[in-house]
Protein backbone atom coordinates (compact mmCIF):
# COMPACT_ATOMS: atom_id res chain seq x y z
CA UNK A 1 0.00 0.00 0.00
CA UNK A 2 1.65 3.17 -1.18
CA UNK A 3 1.75 6.00 1.31
CA UNK A 4 3.60 8.73 -0.55
CA UNK A 5 2.65 12.42 -0.71
CA UNK A 6 2.69 14.55 -3.84
CA UNK A 7 3.05 18.32 -3.79
CA UNK A 8 1.93 20.27 -6.85
CA UNK A 9 4.68 22.85 -7.12
CA UNK A 10 4.50 26.51 -8.08
CA UNK A 11 7.18 28.64 -9.64
CA UNK A 12 7.38 32.32 -8.75
CA UNK A 13 9.85 35.07 -9.60
CA UNK A 14 12.45 32.63 -10.85
CA UNK A 15 12.40 30.25 -7.90
CA UNK A 16 10.37 27.57 -6.21
CA UNK A 17 7.48 29.46 -4.68
CA UNK A 18 7.70 30.02 -0.93
CA UNK A 19 4.17 28.60 -0.81
CA UNK A 20 5.42 25.32 -2.30
CA UNK A 21 8.19 25.06 0.30
CA UNK A 22 5.58 25.39 3.01
CA UNK A 23 3.33 22.75 1.48
CA UNK A 24 6.34 20.42 1.31
CA UNK A 25 6.97 21.01 4.99
CA UNK A 26 3.31 20.43 5.78
CA UNK A 27 3.05 17.07 4.01
CA UNK A 28 6.42 16.01 5.40
CA UNK A 29 4.74 15.95 8.76
CA UNK A 30 2.79 12.92 7.54
CA UNK A 31 6.02 10.96 7.88
CA UNK A 32 5.97 9.46 4.40
CA UNK A 33 8.09 10.16 1.29
CA UNK A 34 7.35 13.38 -0.57
CA UNK A 35 7.39 13.95 -4.34
CA UNK A 36 7.00 17.31 -6.08
CA UNK A 37 5.28 17.84 -9.43
CA UNK A 38 6.95 20.47 -11.62
CA UNK A 39 6.29 21.92 -15.08
CA UNK A 40 9.68 23.05 -16.29
CA UNK A 41 13.19 21.66 -16.17
CA UNK A 42 14.37 24.83 -14.44
CA UNK A 43 11.80 24.27 -11.76
CA UNK A 44 12.66 20.57 -11.53
CA UNK A 45 16.34 21.36 -11.06
CA UNK A 46 15.50 23.69 -8.19
CA UNK A 47 13.08 21.22 -6.63
CA UNK A 48 15.64 18.41 -6.36
CA UNK A 49 17.52 20.54 -3.82
CA UNK A 50 14.61 20.98 -1.45
CA UNK A 51 15.12 19.22 1.83
CA UNK A 52 12.63 16.41 2.37
CA UNK A 53 11.81 15.75 -1.28
CA UNK A 54 12.51 12.24 -2.59
CA UNK A 55 11.46 12.54 -6.22
CA UNK A 56 10.69 15.36 -8.60
CA UNK A 57 8.18 14.64 -11.31
CA UNK A 58 8.68 16.67 -14.44
CA UNK A 59 5.57 17.10 -16.56
CA UNK A 60 5.27 19.16 -19.73
CA UNK A 61 7.20 22.39 -20.06
CA UNK A 62 4.08 24.55 -19.80
CA UNK A 63 1.97 25.23 -16.77
CA UNK A 64 -1.28 23.56 -17.71
CA UNK A 65 -4.76 24.92 -17.25
CA UNK A 66 -6.63 23.47 -14.26
CA UNK A 67 -8.45 20.87 -16.34
CA UNK A 68 -5.23 19.59 -17.87
CA UNK A 69 -3.47 19.58 -14.52
CA UNK A 70 -6.36 17.60 -13.08
CA UNK A 71 -5.95 15.05 -15.88
CA UNK A 72 -2.23 14.76 -15.06
CA UNK A 73 -3.04 14.13 -11.43
CA UNK A 74 -5.62 11.56 -12.39
CA UNK A 75 -2.94 9.60 -14.20
CA UNK A 76 -0.58 9.41 -11.25
CA UNK A 77 -2.96 9.52 -8.26
CA UNK A 78 -2.83 5.80 -7.54
CA UNK A 79 0.82 6.21 -6.44
CA UNK A 80 -0.15 8.61 -3.66
CA UNK A 81 -2.19 8.67 -0.47
CA UNK A 82 -2.21 12.45 -0.49
CA UNK A 83 -1.90 15.08 -3.23
CA UNK A 84 -1.49 18.60 -1.92
CA UNK A 85 -1.10 22.16 -3.18
CA UNK A 86 -1.16 25.58 -1.58
CA UNK A 87 -4.62 27.08 -1.05
CA UNK A 88 -4.23 29.32 -4.08
CA UNK A 89 -5.98 29.55 -7.42
CA UNK A 90 -4.29 26.66 -9.23
CA UNK A 91 -4.68 24.11 -6.46
CA UNK A 92 -8.23 25.12 -5.60
CA UNK A 93 -9.21 24.62 -9.23
CA UNK A 94 -7.32 21.46 -10.15
CA UNK A 95 -7.35 19.37 -6.99
CA UNK A 96 -11.11 18.97 -6.47
CA UNK A 97 -11.47 18.20 -10.18
CA UNK A 98 -8.82 15.51 -9.95
CA UNK A 99 -10.44 14.17 -6.78
CA UNK A 100 -13.73 13.66 -8.61
CA UNK A 101 -11.99 12.09 -11.62
CA UNK A 102 -10.43 9.50 -9.29
CA UNK A 103 -13.39 9.06 -6.91
CA UNK A 104 -11.61 10.66 -3.96
CA UNK A 105 -12.29 13.36 -1.37
CA UNK A 106 -11.10 16.97 -1.35
CA UNK A 107 -10.34 19.20 1.65
CA UNK A 108 -9.50 22.89 1.55
CA UNK A 109 -7.21 25.11 3.59
CA UNK A 110 -5.66 22.63 6.01
CA UNK A 111 -3.95 24.32 8.93
CA UNK A 112 -2.40 21.39 10.75
CA UNK A 113 -1.23 17.86 9.99
CA UNK A 114 -1.95 15.57 12.95
CA UNK A 115 -1.15 12.17 11.41
CA UNK A 116 -0.81 10.79 7.92
CA UNK A 117 -4.65 10.58 7.77
CA UNK A 118 -5.71 13.30 10.20
CA UNK A 119 -5.83 17.00 9.50
CA UNK A 120 -7.16 20.21 11.03
CA UNK A 121 -9.13 22.90 9.21
CA UNK A 122 -11.69 25.59 10.02
CA UNK A 123 -15.46 25.53 9.61
CA UNK A 124 -17.93 28.43 9.69
CA UNK A 125 -15.31 30.97 8.61
CA UNK A 126 -12.90 29.68 11.21
CA UNK A 127 -15.23 29.92 14.19
CA UNK A 128 -14.97 26.16 14.66
CA UNK A 129 -11.71 24.19 14.47
CA UNK A 130 -12.34 20.68 13.13
CA UNK A 131 -10.12 17.61 13.08
CA UNK A 132 -10.83 15.43 10.07
CA UNK A 133 -9.96 11.80 9.39
CA UNK A 134 -9.50 10.86 5.76
CA UNK A 135 -10.59 7.33 4.85
CA UNK A 136 -10.22 7.23 1.07
CA UNK A 137 -7.34 5.98 -1.04
CA UNK A 138 -5.97 9.40 -2.01
CA UNK A 139 -6.83 12.64 -0.27
CA UNK A 140 -6.64 15.79 -2.38
CA UNK A 141 -6.12 18.86 -0.24
CA UNK A 142 -5.03 22.49 -0.29
CA UNK A 143 -2.83 23.78 2.49
CA UNK A 144 -2.96 27.12 4.32
CA UNK A 145 0.68 28.04 3.80
CA UNK A 146 0.75 30.69 6.53
CA UNK A 147 0.29 27.86 9.07
CA UNK A 148 3.56 26.15 8.14
CA UNK A 149 7.21 27.08 8.01
CA UNK A 150 8.98 26.60 4.67
CA UNK A 151 11.08 23.53 4.01
CA UNK A 152 14.72 24.31 3.44
CA UNK A 153 15.41 24.99 -0.24
CA UNK A 154 18.84 23.38 -0.06
CA UNK A 155 20.29 20.12 1.16
CA UNK A 156 17.99 17.80 -0.75
CA UNK A 157 19.06 15.27 -3.34
CA UNK A 158 15.95 14.15 -5.15
CA UNK A 159 15.83 12.30 -8.43
CA UNK A 160 13.92 13.55 -11.45
CA UNK A 161 11.29 11.42 -13.12
CA UNK A 162 9.95 12.57 -16.47
CA UNK A 163 6.24 12.06 -17.03
CA UNK A 164 4.61 11.18 -20.30
CA UNK A 165 2.77 14.16 -21.74
CA UNK A 166 -0.98 13.99 -21.90
CA UNK A 167 -3.48 15.55 -24.26
CA UNK A 168 -4.36 19.02 -22.97
CA UNK A 169 -7.92 20.05 -22.20
CA UNK A 170 -8.69 22.53 -24.94
CA UNK A 171 -12.19 23.73 -24.11
CA UNK A 172 -10.77 26.25 -21.63
CA UNK A 173 -8.59 29.00 -23.06
CA UNK A 174 -6.90 31.83 -21.16
CA UNK A 175 -7.72 35.06 -22.95
CA UNK A 176 -6.24 37.75 -20.77
CA UNK A 177 -4.85 38.55 -17.35
CA UNK A 178 -5.46 41.73 -15.39
CA UNK A 179 -3.25 42.79 -12.48
CA UNK A 180 -4.96 43.38 -9.17
CA UNK A 181 -6.85 46.67 -9.19
CA UNK A 182 -7.70 47.42 -5.64
CA UNK A 183 -9.86 50.46 -5.71
CA UNK A 184 -11.23 49.03 -2.54
CA UNK A 185 -14.75 50.12 -3.16
CA UNK A 186 -16.07 46.59 -2.85
CA UNK A 187 -16.74 46.29 0.86
CA UNK A 188 -17.07 42.52 1.02
CA UNK A 189 -13.72 41.82 -0.61
CA UNK A 190 -11.63 44.88 0.29
CA UNK A 191 -8.37 44.25 2.11
CA UNK A 192 -8.61 47.56 3.96
CA UNK A 193 -11.89 48.89 5.36
CA UNK A 194 -12.46 52.30 6.93
CA UNK A 195 -15.70 52.39 8.89
CA UNK A 196 -17.57 55.16 10.65
CA UNK A 197 -20.07 55.11 13.47
CA UNK A 198 -22.37 57.46 15.26
CA UNK A 199 -19.31 59.40 16.41
CA UNK A 200 -18.95 60.91 12.93
CA UNK A 201 -22.00 62.99 13.86
CA UNK A 202 -23.03 64.01 10.34
CA UNK A 203 -23.24 62.90 6.74
CA UNK A 204 -20.68 65.55 5.81
CA UNK A 205 -18.20 64.07 8.26
CA UNK A 206 -18.89 60.59 6.94
CA UNK A 207 -18.12 61.92 3.46
CA UNK A 208 -14.78 63.14 4.82
CA UNK A 209 -14.16 59.62 6.05
CA UNK A 210 -15.07 58.46 2.56
CA UNK A 211 -12.32 60.66 1.18
CA UNK A 212 -9.85 59.03 3.54
CA UNK A 213 -11.06 55.64 2.35
CA UNK A 214 -10.53 56.63 -1.26
CA UNK A 215 -7.09 58.00 -0.56
CA UNK A 216 -6.18 54.80 1.23
CA UNK A 217 -7.65 52.55 -1.47
CA UNK A 218 -10.00 51.25 1.19
CA UNK A 219 -13.69 50.43 1.18
CA UNK A 220 -16.03 52.53 3.31
CA UNK A 221 -18.23 50.85 5.92
CA UNK A 222 -20.60 52.06 8.58
CA UNK A 223 -22.24 50.89 11.77
CA UNK A 224 -26.00 50.45 11.98
CA UNK A 225 -26.21 53.54 14.17
CA UNK A 226 -24.57 55.63 11.46
CA UNK A 227 -26.85 54.19 8.80
CA UNK A 228 -29.88 54.68 11.04
CA UNK A 229 -28.88 58.31 11.45
CA UNK A 230 -28.68 58.77 7.70
CA UNK A 231 -24.90 59.36 7.60
CA UNK A 232 -24.22 56.42 5.32
CA UNK A 233 -26.24 54.31 2.88
CA UNK A 234 -27.64 50.92 3.91
CA UNK A 235 -25.22 49.21 1.52
CA UNK A 236 -22.29 50.36 3.66
CA UNK A 237 -23.58 48.75 6.84
CA UNK A 238 -21.23 46.26 8.45
CA UNK A 239 -22.64 43.85 10.97
CA UNK A 240 -25.72 41.79 11.63
CA UNK A 241 -28.33 42.78 9.01
CA UNK A 242 -25.48 44.32 7.04
CA UNK A 243 -22.31 42.89 5.51
CA UNK A 244 -19.77 40.59 7.08
CA UNK A 245 -16.18 41.53 6.22
CA UNK A 246 -12.77 40.03 7.03
CA UNK A 247 -10.21 42.48 5.66
CA UNK A 248 -6.56 42.66 6.51
CA UNK A 249 -7.11 46.00 8.27
CA UNK A 250 -10.36 47.33 9.74
CA UNK A 251 -10.29 50.92 10.99
CA UNK A 252 -13.28 51.79 13.19
CA UNK A 253 -13.86 55.50 13.69
CA UNK A 254 -16.38 56.60 16.29
CA UNK A 255 -17.88 53.11 16.49
CA UNK A 256 -18.76 51.99 19.98
CA UNK A 257 -18.68 48.29 19.20
CA UNK A 258 -22.15 46.88 19.73
CA UNK A 259 -22.20 43.09 19.46
CA UNK A 260 -24.15 43.29 16.21
CA UNK A 261 -21.39 45.34 14.63
CA UNK A 262 -18.59 43.16 15.98
CA UNK A 263 -20.27 40.13 14.45
CA UNK A 264 -19.67 41.66 11.05
CA UNK A 265 -15.95 42.44 11.38
CA UNK A 266 -14.47 40.30 14.16
CA UNK A 267 -12.50 38.17 11.69
CA UNK A 268 -10.46 41.11 10.43
CA UNK A 269 -6.74 40.44 10.71
CA UNK A 270 -6.03 43.76 12.41
CA UNK A 271 -8.66 45.92 14.06
CA UNK A 272 -7.89 49.54 14.85
CA UNK A 273 -10.37 51.56 16.91
CA UNK A 274 -10.48 55.31 17.37
CA UNK A 275 -13.02 56.52 19.92
CA UNK A 276 -13.08 59.20 22.56
CA UNK A 277 -14.76 56.89 25.08
CA UNK A 278 -12.16 54.70 26.78
CA UNK A 279 -14.89 52.26 27.87
CA UNK A 280 -16.23 51.70 24.38
CA UNK A 281 -16.64 47.93 23.82
CA UNK A 282 -14.77 48.18 20.50
CA UNK A 283 -11.52 48.46 22.42
CA UNK A 284 -11.96 44.94 23.75
CA UNK A 285 -11.59 43.50 20.25
CA UNK A 286 -9.24 46.09 18.77
CA UNK A 287 -5.61 45.17 18.33
CA UNK A 288 -4.73 48.84 18.45
CA UNK A 289 -6.84 51.52 20.09
CA UNK A 290 -6.56 55.27 20.17
CA UNK A 291 -8.61 57.09 22.78
CA UNK A 292 -8.99 60.53 21.33
CA UNK A 293 -10.57 62.78 18.76
CA UNK A 294 -11.29 60.76 15.67
CA UNK A 295 -11.13 63.83 13.47
CA UNK A 296 -7.49 64.41 14.47
CA UNK A 297 -6.56 60.86 13.57
CA UNK A 298 -8.63 60.99 10.39
CA UNK A 299 -6.83 64.11 9.22
CA UNK A 300 -3.38 62.74 10.05
CA UNK A 301 -4.01 59.42 8.32
CA UNK A 302 -5.34 61.23 5.27
CA UNK A 303 -2.21 63.36 5.08
CA UNK A 304 -0.02 60.25 5.30
CA UNK A 305 -2.10 58.44 2.68
CA UNK A 306 -1.84 61.32 0.25
CA UNK A 307 1.87 61.66 0.86
CA UNK A 308 2.29 57.94 0.23
CA UNK A 309 0.27 58.23 -2.96
CA UNK A 310 2.26 61.20 -4.17
CA UNK A 311 5.52 59.41 -3.54
CA UNK A 312 4.56 56.49 -5.79
Amino acid sequence: MTMRSLVVGEWKDGAIADATLRVIRAVSERGVPVDVLTFSSVMANAAVCVDGVERVLLASDDVPNPETLAAFLQHIASDYSMIAASHRTAGRAALPRAAALTGNAFLADITRVVTAQRFVRGLYAGSVVATIESTGATLFATIRTSSFAPACATGGEASIVALEPIAPFTATVLIDRQAAMQDGSDLASASVVVAGGRGLASKENMDTLGTLARNMGAALGASRAAVDAGYAPNAAQVGQTGKTVAPDIYLAFGISGAIQHLAGMKDSQIIVAVNKDPDAPIFSVADYGIVGDLFDVLGELDAHARATGDAQ
Binding site: P96, A100, A130, T135, V173, L174, Q178, V192, I290, D296
Partner: protein
Protein backbone atom coordinates in the same frame (compact mmCIF):
# COMPACT_ATOMS: atom_id res chain seq x y z
CA UNK B 1 -30.53 28.52 -29.63
CA UNK B 2 -31.11 28.90 -25.93
CA UNK B 3 -30.44 26.61 -23.06
CA UNK B 4 -31.33 26.08 -19.40
CA UNK B 5 -29.27 27.13 -16.41
CA UNK B 6 -29.00 24.98 -13.31
CA UNK B 7 -28.18 26.69 -10.02
CA UNK B 8 -27.36 24.27 -7.21
CA UNK B 9 -27.84 25.99 -3.87
CA UNK B 10 -27.22 25.13 -0.26
CA UNK B 11 -29.10 25.89 2.94
CA UNK B 12 -26.58 27.02 5.54
CA UNK B 13 -26.45 28.56 8.98
CA UNK B 14 -27.05 32.29 8.48
CA UNK B 15 -23.83 34.26 8.13
CA UNK B 16 -24.61 36.40 11.18
CA UNK B 17 -25.31 33.56 13.59
CA UNK B 18 -22.61 32.64 16.08
CA UNK B 19 -22.31 28.86 15.95
CA UNK B 20 -21.44 27.14 19.17
CA UNK B 21 -20.13 23.69 19.90
CA UNK B 22 -22.69 21.83 21.94
CA UNK B 23 -22.18 19.41 24.79
CA UNK B 24 -22.18 16.51 22.33
CA UNK B 25 -19.06 17.93 20.71
CA UNK B 26 -20.64 19.05 17.46
CA UNK B 27 -22.54 22.02 16.08
CA UNK B 28 -26.28 21.55 16.52
CA UNK B 29 -28.03 23.64 13.89
CA UNK B 30 -31.54 22.94 15.17
CA UNK B 31 -33.12 26.26 16.14
CA UNK B 32 -30.48 28.35 14.41
CA UNK B 33 -31.47 30.75 11.68
CA UNK B 34 -30.76 29.20 8.29
CA UNK B 35 -30.40 31.01 4.98
CA UNK B 36 -29.60 30.62 1.32
CA UNK B 37 -25.78 30.45 1.02
CA UNK B 38 -24.72 34.01 0.13
CA UNK B 39 -22.49 32.93 -2.79
CA UNK B 40 -25.34 30.83 -4.18
CA UNK B 41 -27.60 33.86 -3.96
CA UNK B 42 -25.20 35.69 -6.28
CA UNK B 43 -25.27 32.70 -8.62
CA UNK B 44 -29.08 32.81 -8.71
CA UNK B 45 -28.93 36.53 -9.50
CA UNK B 46 -26.45 36.06 -12.34
CA UNK B 47 -28.54 33.23 -13.78
CA UNK B 48 -31.63 35.46 -13.73
CA UNK B 49 -29.75 38.21 -15.54
CA UNK B 50 -28.64 35.77 -18.24
CA UNK B 51 -32.22 34.65 -18.70
CA UNK B 52 -33.40 38.26 -18.83
CA UNK B 53 -30.75 38.92 -21.50
CA UNK B 54 -32.23 36.12 -23.60
CA UNK B 55 -29.21 33.86 -23.22
CA UNK B 56 -31.11 31.19 -21.29
CA UNK B 57 -34.71 30.05 -21.41
CA UNK B 58 -35.09 29.08 -17.78
CA UNK B 59 -33.36 28.95 -14.41
CA UNK B 60 -33.73 25.83 -12.26
CA UNK B 61 -32.57 25.88 -8.64
CA UNK B 62 -31.76 22.64 -6.92
CA UNK B 63 -30.68 21.61 -3.45
CA UNK B 64 -29.68 18.31 -1.84
CA UNK B 65 -30.94 17.78 1.67
CA UNK B 66 -34.02 17.21 3.78
CA UNK B 67 -37.49 18.66 3.05
CA UNK B 68 -36.84 21.53 5.44
CA UNK B 69 -34.42 22.86 2.79
CA UNK B 70 -37.36 23.89 0.64
CA UNK B 71 -37.29 27.33 2.25
CA UNK B 72 -34.13 28.34 0.39
CA UNK B 73 -35.63 27.04 -2.85
CA UNK B 74 -38.65 29.27 -2.19
CA UNK B 75 -36.37 32.23 -1.66
CA UNK B 76 -34.72 31.57 -5.02
CA UNK B 77 -38.14 31.20 -6.66
CA UNK B 78 -39.15 34.51 -5.09
CA UNK B 79 -36.04 36.07 -6.60
CA UNK B 80 -37.28 34.88 -9.97
CA UNK B 81 -36.10 31.33 -10.65
CA UNK B 82 -38.52 29.34 -12.79
CA UNK B 83 -38.65 26.03 -10.98
CA UNK B 84 -37.04 24.21 -8.10
CA UNK B 85 -35.97 20.69 -7.24
CA UNK B 86 -35.21 19.14 -3.87
CA UNK B 87 -33.15 15.97 -3.95
CA UNK B 88 -34.05 14.32 -0.68
CA UNK B 89 -30.93 12.69 0.74
CA UNK B 90 -32.83 11.05 3.63
CA UNK B 91 -30.35 9.88 6.29
CA UNK B 92 -27.26 10.19 4.15
CA UNK B 93 -24.65 12.92 4.69
CA UNK B 94 -22.79 12.95 1.40
CA UNK B 95 -19.48 14.77 1.12
CA UNK B 96 -18.67 17.13 -1.77
CA UNK B 97 -18.07 14.20 -4.11
CA UNK B 98 -21.42 12.68 -3.19
CA UNK B 99 -23.19 15.97 -3.91
CA UNK B 100 -21.34 16.35 -7.21
CA UNK B 101 -22.35 12.82 -8.18
CA UNK B 102 -26.00 13.56 -7.39
CA UNK B 103 -25.92 16.72 -9.45
CA UNK B 104 -24.23 14.87 -12.31
CA UNK B 105 -26.88 12.15 -12.21
CA UNK B 106 -29.68 14.73 -12.12
CA UNK B 107 -28.29 16.63 -15.10
CA UNK B 108 -27.81 13.44 -17.07
CA UNK B 109 -31.33 12.27 -16.29
CA UNK B 110 -32.91 15.67 -16.91
CA UNK B 111 -31.33 16.18 -20.30
CA UNK B 112 -34.27 15.87 -22.64
CA UNK B 113 -33.80 16.14 -26.40
CA UNK B 114 -37.14 17.84 -26.87
CA UNK B 115 -36.38 20.77 -24.66
CA UNK B 116 -33.30 22.82 -24.02
CA UNK B 117 -30.30 21.14 -22.49
CA UNK B 118 -28.38 22.60 -19.58
CA UNK B 119 -25.75 24.91 -21.00
CA UNK B 120 -24.50 26.26 -17.69
CA UNK B 121 -24.24 25.17 -14.08
CA UNK B 122 -23.78 28.25 -11.94
CA UNK B 123 -23.18 27.86 -8.21
CA UNK B 124 -21.61 29.73 -5.35
CA UNK B 125 -17.87 29.33 -5.00
CA UNK B 126 -18.10 27.83 -1.51
CA UNK B 127 -20.61 27.13 1.24
CA UNK B 128 -20.10 29.28 4.31
CA UNK B 129 -20.52 26.33 6.65
CA UNK B 130 -17.78 23.99 5.47
CA UNK B 131 -15.83 26.49 3.30
CA UNK B 132 -14.57 23.66 1.06
CA UNK B 133 -15.54 24.98 -2.36
CA UNK B 134 -15.13 21.63 -4.09
CA UNK B 135 -18.48 20.82 -5.68
CA UNK B 136 -18.17 23.08 -8.74
CA UNK B 137 -14.89 21.59 -9.96
CA UNK B 138 -15.98 18.07 -9.05
CA UNK B 139 -19.20 18.38 -11.03
CA UNK B 140 -17.27 19.81 -13.98
CA UNK B 141 -14.97 16.78 -13.83
CA UNK B 142 -17.84 14.29 -13.84
CA UNK B 143 -19.53 16.12 -16.73
CA UNK B 144 -16.24 16.53 -18.59
CA UNK B 145 -17.07 20.23 -18.93
CA UNK B 146 -14.76 23.26 -18.69
CA UNK B 147 -14.83 25.10 -15.38
CA UNK B 148 -14.25 28.67 -14.15
CA UNK B 149 -14.13 29.31 -10.43
CA UNK B 150 -14.50 32.46 -8.35
CA UNK B 151 -16.12 34.36 -11.22
CA UNK B 152 -16.50 38.11 -10.88
CA UNK B 153 -17.93 38.73 -14.36
CA UNK B 154 -19.30 36.63 -17.18
CA UNK B 155 -21.10 36.82 -20.48
CA UNK B 156 -22.20 34.47 -23.21
CA UNK B 157 -19.66 33.93 -26.00
CA UNK B 158 -20.10 32.56 -29.51
CA UNK B 159 -19.71 28.92 -28.53
CA UNK B 160 -19.83 29.11 -24.77
CA UNK B 161 -18.81 31.60 -22.09
CA UNK B 162 -16.33 34.36 -21.31
CA UNK B 163 -15.66 34.39 -17.60
CA UNK B 164 -13.44 36.69 -15.56
CA UNK B 165 -12.18 35.04 -12.41
CA UNK B 166 -10.37 36.42 -9.40
CA UNK B 167 -7.03 34.75 -8.88
CA UNK B 168 -3.88 35.24 -6.82
CA UNK B 169 -2.53 38.10 -8.91
CA UNK B 170 -5.69 39.89 -9.91
CA UNK B 171 -8.17 38.55 -12.44
CA UNK B 172 -7.98 36.38 -15.51
CA UNK B 173 -10.47 36.05 -18.34
CA UNK B 174 -11.12 32.58 -19.71
CA UNK B 175 -13.07 31.41 -22.73
CA UNK B 176 -15.03 28.26 -22.05
CA UNK B 177 -16.23 26.37 -25.12
CA UNK B 178 -19.51 24.53 -24.79
CA UNK B 179 -21.53 23.96 -21.63
CA UNK B 180 -19.61 24.84 -18.49
CA UNK B 181 -19.60 24.97 -14.71
CA UNK B 182 -18.99 28.42 -13.21
CA UNK B 183 -18.73 29.25 -9.52
CA UNK B 184 -19.68 32.73 -8.31
CA UNK B 185 -17.81 35.17 -6.14
CA UNK B 186 -19.86 37.87 -4.37
CA UNK B 187 -18.69 40.35 -6.99
CA UNK B 188 -20.40 38.47 -9.81
CA UNK B 189 -23.84 39.91 -9.17
CA UNK B 190 -25.46 41.80 -6.30
CA UNK B 191 -28.60 39.77 -5.52
CA UNK B 192 -31.89 41.53 -6.15
CA UNK B 193 -34.29 42.05 -3.31
CA UNK B 194 -37.19 39.68 -2.99
CA UNK B 195 -40.30 41.77 -3.65
CA UNK B 196 -43.74 41.36 -2.16
CA UNK B 197 -45.38 40.52 -5.51
CA UNK B 198 -42.66 37.98 -6.31
CA UNK B 199 -43.30 36.19 -3.02
CA UNK B 200 -46.90 35.68 -4.12
CA UNK B 201 -45.88 34.62 -7.64
CA UNK B 202 -43.36 32.12 -6.29
CA UNK B 203 -46.09 30.03 -4.71
CA UNK B 204 -47.33 29.11 -8.19
CA UNK B 205 -43.95 27.91 -9.44
CA UNK B 206 -43.12 24.20 -9.58
CA UNK B 207 -41.12 22.76 -6.70
CA UNK B 208 -40.64 19.00 -6.93
CA UNK B 209 -38.95 16.52 -4.66
CA UNK B 210 -36.89 13.59 -5.92
CA UNK B 211 -35.50 10.80 -3.75
CA UNK B 212 -31.72 10.63 -3.93
CA UNK B 213 -31.99 6.85 -4.05
CA UNK B 214 -33.46 7.03 -7.56
CA UNK B 215 -30.05 8.09 -8.88
CA UNK B 216 -28.11 5.03 -7.73
CA UNK B 217 -25.14 7.09 -6.61
CA UNK B 218 -22.91 6.28 -3.59
CA UNK B 219 -23.74 8.81 -0.89
CA UNK B 220 -21.12 8.05 1.70
CA UNK B 221 -18.25 10.22 2.79
CA UNK B 222 -14.51 9.70 2.77
CA UNK B 223 -13.86 12.43 5.31
CA UNK B 224 -15.06 12.17 8.87
CA UNK B 225 -15.02 14.91 11.49
CA UNK B 226 -13.54 13.41 14.64
CA UNK B 227 -13.33 16.52 16.80
CA UNK B 228 -14.55 20.11 16.95
CA UNK B 229 -13.14 22.84 19.15
CA UNK B 230 -13.34 26.58 19.68
CA UNK B 231 -10.57 28.59 18.06
CA UNK B 232 -8.05 30.42 20.22
CA UNK B 233 -9.50 33.62 21.70
CA UNK B 234 -8.53 36.89 20.10
CA UNK B 235 -5.86 38.39 22.34
CA UNK B 236 -6.61 41.79 23.85
CA UNK B 237 -4.90 44.63 22.06
CA UNK B 238 -3.04 47.71 23.19
CA UNK B 239 -3.78 51.38 23.30
CA UNK B 240 -1.47 53.64 21.34
CA UNK B 241 -1.14 57.35 21.94
CA UNK B 242 -1.67 58.79 18.49
CA UNK B 243 -1.50 58.32 14.74
CA UNK B 244 2.29 58.30 14.69
CA UNK B 245 2.38 55.52 17.24
CA UNK B 246 -0.24 53.61 15.25
CA UNK B 247 1.81 53.84 12.06
CA UNK B 248 4.81 52.62 13.97
CA UNK B 249 2.92 49.66 15.37
CA UNK B 250 1.25 48.46 12.17
CA UNK B 251 3.68 49.81 9.62
CA UNK B 252 2.63 52.30 6.98
CA UNK B 253 3.36 49.70 4.30
CA UNK B 254 0.60 47.48 5.59
CA UNK B 255 -1.80 50.27 6.44
CA UNK B 256 -1.41 51.88 3.01
CA UNK B 257 -1.11 48.62 1.09
CA UNK B 258 -3.73 49.73 -1.44
CA UNK B 259 -2.57 53.29 -1.99
CA UNK B 260 -1.81 54.02 -5.61
CA UNK B 261 -2.98 50.57 -6.66
Amino acid sequence: MTMKILVPVKRVVDANVRVRIGSAGGVDTAGLKMSLNPFDECAVEQALRLREAGVASSVTVLTCGRPVCQDVLRTALAMGADNAVLIDTANASPDSLGIARLLHAFITADTDTDTDAYGLVLCGKQAIDDDIGGVAAMLAALLGWPQALNASAMEAAARGWLVTCGDDAGTATWRLDGPAVVSADLRLAEPRRVTLPSIVKAKQKPLRTVDASTFNVPLGTQIRIVDMAEPPVRQPGIKVADTTALLGAIGSGRLFQNVGA
